[in-house]
């Protein structure tokens, strides 16, 4: 039933006021999805994660009325002074959003306004960065109903994060949403973005998000994501990035919600002297399934990439990390480093970690390493021998393991917020966040 369900949803769309160039993009995306269907384990990229559990779910598109207020969102704001766009159940909510503090030179528009007011810009980039043959990306392109377009003008440096808050409340039950993010950082600009996915009610829904990021010459995009969806939700998110020369792209992915989540982060270093840093932290509990796939494509010489993913898995949770690094024949002097470290807190927790380096240039420096470990018993005994109660010692060591990757987050406020979230999970509220040793 699955494909006809989505084809019917596609046919039922009211696309009346959309620009004409969009129709063929959507149509070919729908055709591509119809050909591919929901990914199964038979696909190499989905070897450890199957979406077949939701393939037959007749999700509705769009949700009914909801009563979420600004006050309900306060705990998720991180900083209420930041420009914040709230997409409530997939739809931009002007009432909940606030763009007053947006700096000059930074344009933030909802998708419909963007293709009305900035048609050339949107047409030039939308659907040109997220080009991987992925059924979920195709489905998003076919059905994307709302989203956020951010354009940072040449030479504009904006260090205050722009927060895109994807909220699902009780009205999201049984619905699918297809939010789209398009970020364009023009020459020598700098921008920081935070995309949060939060679930306010324990209901089942499906998020299928796509972000496209265009990093211009000498520009820097700092892009963070916090996934704390409802624990009954299914979350798929694909970020695809195109980097021009001398640019930097920094991504951090924190995954702690959803029953099943898959986060893809793909970047193409398509100019000389670029850098990409992809870091992340996944925290699993219960029967959560948390999958990250990254792909760094070194297409030009003299670029570097850095990757550090850490995870803590409790109960019968399962995580997947698949880190691909592809070095083209011309990409000499590539300097790539990848690591993945997971702490298993329970005998039933499981990680499948798969580094995948494909190197076609001969003068490169690429390393990778993965470790899977259990609680350090020696450290535990050491702490206990100093009088620290067993449970506190355990939580402290767990927190410390996770916190070191959070240290890499440049924005102090976001870093502290994520430290706090991790603390709440492992250290109890009695522990003060200054426990992390600062490096250097």
């Amino acid at each position: 039933m699955t494909i006809p369900h989505w084809q019917a949803a596609f046919a039922a769309r009211a696309g009346g006021d959309e620009p004409r160039w969009l129709a063929p993009l959507r149509q070919s995306a729908m055709a591509s999805f119809a050909a591919l269907g929901f990914p199964t384990r038979a696909l190499e990229d989905w070897h450890y994660t199957s979406l077949s559990s939701i393939a037959d779910v007749p999700y509705t598109i769009g949700s009914g009325a909801s009563s979420t207020t600004v006050a309900d969102l306060t705990p998720y704001m991180i900083n209420a002074d930041w420009p914040t766009i709230v997409l409530l159940n997939g739809r931009w909510s002007p009432a909940l959003s606030s763009l007053d503090s947006l700096p000059g030179g930074v344009l933030v528009l909802d998708l419909a306004t963007a293709w009305r007011e900035q048609p050339a810009m949107v047409q030039q980039h939308l659907g040109t960065v997220a080009v991987s043959e992925h059924a979920m990306t195709s489905l998003n392109t076919a059905l994307m109903q709302d989203g956020v377009v951010v354009v940072v003008a040449k030479d504009v440096v904006s260090n205050t994060p722009i927060h895109i808050l994807h909220v699902a409340d009780a009205a999201a039950e049984g619905a699918a949403r297809f939010p789209r993010t398009l970020i364009i950082a023009e020459r020598s600009s700098k921008v920081t973005l935070l995309e949060s996915f939060v679930g306010l009610a324990d209901v089942a829904y499906f998020t299928n998000h796509v972000a496209e990021v265009v990093v211009g010459d000498n520009a820097t995009v700092n892009h963070m994501k916090i996934q704390r969806e409802s624990e009954s939700a299914t979350h798929v998110s694909t970020t695809e990035v195109h980097q021009a020369r001398d640019s930097h792209y920094v991504n951090f992915s924190m995954a702690m919600g959803a029953t099943l989540s898959r986060t893809n982060v793909y970047t193409v270093l398509d100019g000389e002297n670029c850098g990409a840093t992809l870091n992340g932290l996944y925290l699993g509990k219960g029967t959560q399934h948390t999958d990250h796939q990254t792909r760094i494509e070194h297409a030009q010489p003299n670029c570097f990439s850095r990757e550090l993913y850490k995870g803590v898995l409790d109960d019968a949770s399962h995580a997947v990390f698949n880190g691909k690094v592809y070095v083209h024949p011309v990409a000499q002097k590539t300097d790539g480093k990848q690591s993945n470290h997971t702490l298993l807190l329970s005998p039933d927790a499981r990680i499948d970690t798969k580094p995948q380096l494909e190197i076609f240039a001969d003068d490169v420096k690429c390393t990778h390493g993965a470790t899977v470990g259990r609680m350090d018993e020696a450290g535990l005994f050491y702490m206990k021998s100093r009088g620290v109660p067993s449970e506190t010692a355990r939580r402290l060591l767990t927190y410390a393991f996770a916190a070191d990757v959070l240290e890499t987050i440049e924005n102090e406020t976001v870093k502290h917020a994520l430290e706090q979230l991790t603390l709440e999970r492992y250290a109890g509220s009695a522990v003060h966040p200054v426990i992390v040793a600062r490096k250097g």
């Binding site: 350090d376 018993e377 020696a378 450290g379 005994f381 050491y382 702490m383 206990k384 021998s385 100093r386 009088g387 620290v388 109660p389 067993s390 506190t392 402290l396 060591l397 927190y399 410390a400 393991f401 916190a403 070191d404 003060h432 200054v434 426990i435 992390v436 040793a437 600062r438």
Partner: protein, 250 residues
């Protein structure tokens, strides 16, 4: 204070302690010497409650209580402290936080209140002086990247913070140059009180010039084969252990 009777312990299939008898009173310092692999660290770790060792027989009473029945943290709360021969590194946990957690846990266990980070800094200021340590060490991860000497000093710093009744120092002097040895030994001496006691495991008589023992014991093959006073340590320094081992076999 401490009464060890016929203590036997093993690790896996291996019997290591084969009947230890030792009695330590308040105010005393006991030195334990002996060849490598004789069971000195095992004894120390068993007293601290290390889970790798199984006590197969005997008893240990600490201030009248059955020490072996207590969890490691409870032993610490009662006032038992072990300075590790090989201090453990804990990535990601700052030394300051580690010390404060230990200090607060101890206070709470003894019926007091926790101190906040600011109050704790005042406590630390005085303790750092005892081991002549720089406060930069506090913001680093516990023992990570510390030199051998720094690790040993850090053990004594922990001891200074926790103020134990019974301190067991397992080769805290090994690998230290003479200046570091002096700092560590003086630190221990500053913490001595008539109502506390120490067991000092060492291979070197030079430590005992600084920390003067009341008794010296030789542990070999999992047993105390000879006990004596200070002079025994001097004799061992000169003659080694072989003559004692021969006598023990004879």
């Amino acid at each position: 204070m401490l009464e060890i009777t016929n203590l036997t312990a093993s690790a896996g299939e291996k019997d290591i302690l084969k009947g230890i008898n030792l009695s330590v009173n308040a105010g005393e310092v006991h030195a334990i010497m002996g060849p490598n692999g004789s069971g000195k660290s095992t004894l120390a770790q068993v007293l601290a409650g290390h889970p790798s060792y199984e006590v197969t027989g005997g008893t240990v009473r600490f201030e009248g209580e059955d020490l072996l029945e207590l969890a490691p943290e409870e032993r610490a709360h009662r006032g038992v402290f072990l300075a590790f021969q090989y201090p453990i590194e804990i990535p990601g946990v700052s030394n300051a936080y580690f010390l404060r957690s230990a200090y607060n846990a101890m206070r709470v266990a003894r019926g007091g209140d926790e101190v906040d980070p600011m109050e704790f800094l005042d406590v630390m200021e005085e303790k750092l002086k005892i081991v002549e340590m720089d406060d930069a060490m506090l913001s680093r991860s516990v023992n990570m990247g510390f030199s051998g000497g720094e690790k040993k000093r850090n053990e004594i710093l922990q001891m200074a913070v926790l103020e134990p009744k019974l301190a067991i120092l397992d080769e805290t002097d090994s690998g230290l140059d003479i200046d570091a040895l002096r700092v560590v030994a003086e630190g221990v001496n500053k913490l001595r009180r008539p109502d506390n006691a120490a067991i000092v495991v060492t291979h070197y008589q030079r430590l005992l010039n600084y920390i003067v023992p009341d008794y010296v014991h030789v542990l070999a093959g999992g047993r105390i084969i000879r006990s004596g006073t200070r002079e025994l340590a001097l004799e061992l320094e000169e003659k080694g252990y072989d003559w004692l081992l021969q006598e023990a076999l004879a």
